[in-house]
């Protein structure tokens, strides 16, 4: 165990897998000389060289497509999209090729690619640079959607992603890179599809993922003072989705909310809620609350941006409403 940042944890996972498997390489804009727009790949070029740490032109569609082709050619590419916002230029390759090739070719082809993409708002980057788009990838059979909140999970889930054979969309929140946490050294694999109960509680289940997990946790502390005992669950992966852990919690609390940074309408929260109603309808005393980003393009102005995003305060309000 060592206390390192989310960024360092990802960097460590990349190094370990690069060391472990010759077929692993990284490509993307600024991943080499610049060390990554968010410095996640910092220092890798010096160690692994230009063959395995590849700076690319600004050609998202083809970078991702080339990653898919390289994977079909027997390699294990990690493609970094500088941010998920630019990934929209590559979504054809992700949805029409990466997600379908294994199935559409009768299981005879595999596409073991990991597409890493930072996402999220909170830095006044405006409408085109502040999106959280996990819902698009969740609505596409064939893709795994991984979205870690803690440094330990960032490392453990990335290593798992790099060792399995399905195409993975690996979403990192830009606000988490500098967050610190205890991370096991060396071999540390976190399985897909296992939610993590970050805090046990009996009054209300707060389901979240990525950065919002921490808003949920601080809300839980605030709620404690009000005598509300909240359980906080980090999903870790959206596909596969661990509904078992969620249902267990709801059986205990009878009240649930989902906290996430995507837009409220059509977001991952809707799917999670729907599945929970289907699986635990009789255990729910009240409708599941969705605390999410307002349905607006993210504005630049600091106050407007803050008002658009979900906060610990929103979580507290929602919990008070539920209990």
């Amino acid at each position: 165990m060592a206390e390192i940042t989310y960024r360092e944890a990802l960097n460590q996972a990349l190094r370990e897998e690069l060391d472990r498997d010759e077929r692993v390489f990284i490509m993307g804009e600024e991943v080499g000389y610049f060390g990554g727009a968010f410095k996640v790949t910092d220092g890798l070029l010096a160690v692994y060289g230009e063959k395995r740490i590849r700076d690319t032109p600004i050609s998202e569609l083809t970078i991702v497509g080339a990653g898919i082709g390289a994977a079909m050619g027997g390699l294990r590419p990690i493609v970094e999209l500088m941010t998920v916002n630019f990934g929209l230029l590559a979504i054809d390759q992700i949805v029409n090729n990466a997600a379908k090739i294994h199935y559409m070719f009768g299981g005879h082809a595999k596409v073991p690619i990991v597409i890493r993409a930072p996402q999220g708002a909170g830095h006044q980057l405006g409408a085109q640079h502040s999106q959280s788009l996990e819902a698009y990838f969740l609505h596409c059979p064939g893709l795994r959607v991984v979205i870690p909140a803690t440094p330990a999970d960032a490392k453990g889930l990335l290593k798992t992603a790099m060792r399995q054979d399905d195409p993975v969309i690996f979403l990192e929140h830009e606000s988490l890179y500098s967050m610190k946490g205890q991370v096991p050294e060396g071999e540390h694999l976190v399985p897909f599809g296992r939610a993590n109960v970050m805090r046990e509680g009996k009054d209300v289940t707060i389901i979240s993922y990525s950065k919002c997990v921490f808003d949920a946790l601080s809300a839980a502390e605030a709620l404690e003072n009000e005598g509300i005992d909240a359980e906080v669950i980090d999903l870790r992966t959206l596909n596969p989705l661990d509904t078992t852990t969620l249902v267990e919690s709801i059986k205990k609390t009878a009240k649930a909310m989902i906290v996430y940074e995507g837009w409220r309408t059509g977001g991952a929260g809707a799917e999670i809620a729907s599945q929970l109603y289907e699986l635990a309808f009789d255990y729910l005393d009240a409708p599941i609350e969705r605390v999410a980003t307002r349905d607006v393009p993210i504005p630049y102005n600091r106050h407007l941006e803050a008002a658009a995003l979900p906060t610990a305060g929103d979580v507290v309000k929602a919990a008070e409403k539920l209990v």
Partner: protein
């Protein structure tokens, strides 16, 4: 000029290839033609469904190009890929079975006409998004260089793919990284009903190669030897590590865009003109005229391919449908 050079090399390869090879080329083209005619028949009889794009008329390109590479080299294509798939050596039975949607098909009946695939023969698939295969070809090229192998990738696409961003991005990346990819544009003058001059500002498609610093040549796509020798050159270059090339093969599709397109936008006259340049008849005439083969030999081959295709149909017809539990298999790797 580009044309000239290839005419020249075409002559060379005509000399360099002996009867055996030439007859093999004939055999492959005849097989594809026969196969496609039978597919059309089976489609009208309802044995084959969905979108079905035939290759009749363009055989010289797939056959000439793929004859210039080894089994270990990669081929990637579009939804009009029956010809490339057969030319790469994939079993006509498994291809026909796929079109029939049977469990014995190359893609277990899940892909259909537009999505043939055979990893063992490195036929890397047919893709139905125009331009969608070029980035994959670039990535396959990267995997070759990465593994320090000497294979090459032949990437086939139509004139309609030229205006796609993927064309530009892929040529740039392949050139920038000197990847062993031969981009082969099958210019049959139409993208569905749209004539090439209404889709792209530059009708001499091979000229797009220049800014990317790669060779660009236009060849007669109705002449299997001209295609062959142009690809031989491009492949040699690619294996040397000198990077990609763009080959524009001028051709014509005899039928509508797909089985559901009567092709009313084309004149009978235009079609006749091209039929007169038929690549199969042409090679046959050529070999007969310089006494490299007899009419009898060609008849034999025609009979052979007819048999192969009939057998493929029989096989496809008698094969079982995939069981329904196949529906949810292979969505994720098991």
């Amino acid at each position: 000029m580009a044309l000239e050079r290839d005419k020249h090399t075409a002559e060379r390869s005509l000399l360099s290839l002996g009867e055996v090879e030439l007859l093999e080329l004939y055999h492959r083209m005849a097989l594809i033609r026969r196969f496609e005619d039978k597919v059309a028949e089976m489609y009208t009889r309802g044995k084959i469904t969905g979108f079905c794009h035939l290759y009749a008329g363009e055989e010289a390109i797939a056959v000439g190009a793929i004859y210039a590479i080894h089994e270990k080299d990669y081929v990637i294509s579009t939804y009009r890929e029956h010809g490339h798939c057969l030319a790469k050596g994939v079993s006509p039975r498994a291809v026909m079975a796929e079109l029939f949607g049977k469990a014995t098909g190359v893609s277990r009946g899940r892909g259909g006409s537009m999505h043939l695939f055979d990893a063992s023969l490195r036929f890397m698939g047919g893709y139905a998004i125009v331009g969608g295969g070029l980035p994959l070809a670039t990535g396959l090229g990267l995997s070759i260089v990465y593994k320090e192998e000497a294979d090459v990738v032949l990437c086939f696409f139509g004139d309609g793919a030229l205006p796609q961003g993927a064309f530009h991005e892929s040529l740039n990346l392949a050139s920038l990284w000197k990847l062993p990819v031969v981009f082969i544009c099958e210019n049959n003058f139409y993208g569905m009903g749209t004539m090439v001059q209404n889709a792209i500002c530059q009708e001499e498609l091979y000229r797009f190669a220049e800014p990317y610093k790669m060779p660009g040549v236009r060849v007669d796509g109705m002449d299997v030897l001209e295609v062959y020798s142009a690809v031989v050159e491009a492949v040699a270059r690619a294996r040397e590590g000198d990077g990609p090339s763009l080959i524009e093969a001028v051709t014509y599709r005899y039928r509508g865009h797909s089985m559901s397109d009567p092709g009313e936008y084309r004149s009978k006259r235009e079609e006749r003109i091209w039929q007169e340049r038929d690549p199969i008849k042409r090679l046959r005439k050529r070999m007969l005229s310089d006494g490299r083969a007899t009419e009898a030999r060609f008849k034999e081959i025609d009979a052979e391919v007819a048999e192969i295709v009939d057998d493929a149909v029989k096989f496809a017809d008698e094969s079982a449908e995939p069981p329904l539990d196949e529906l949810t298999r292979n969505v994720y790797v098991e």
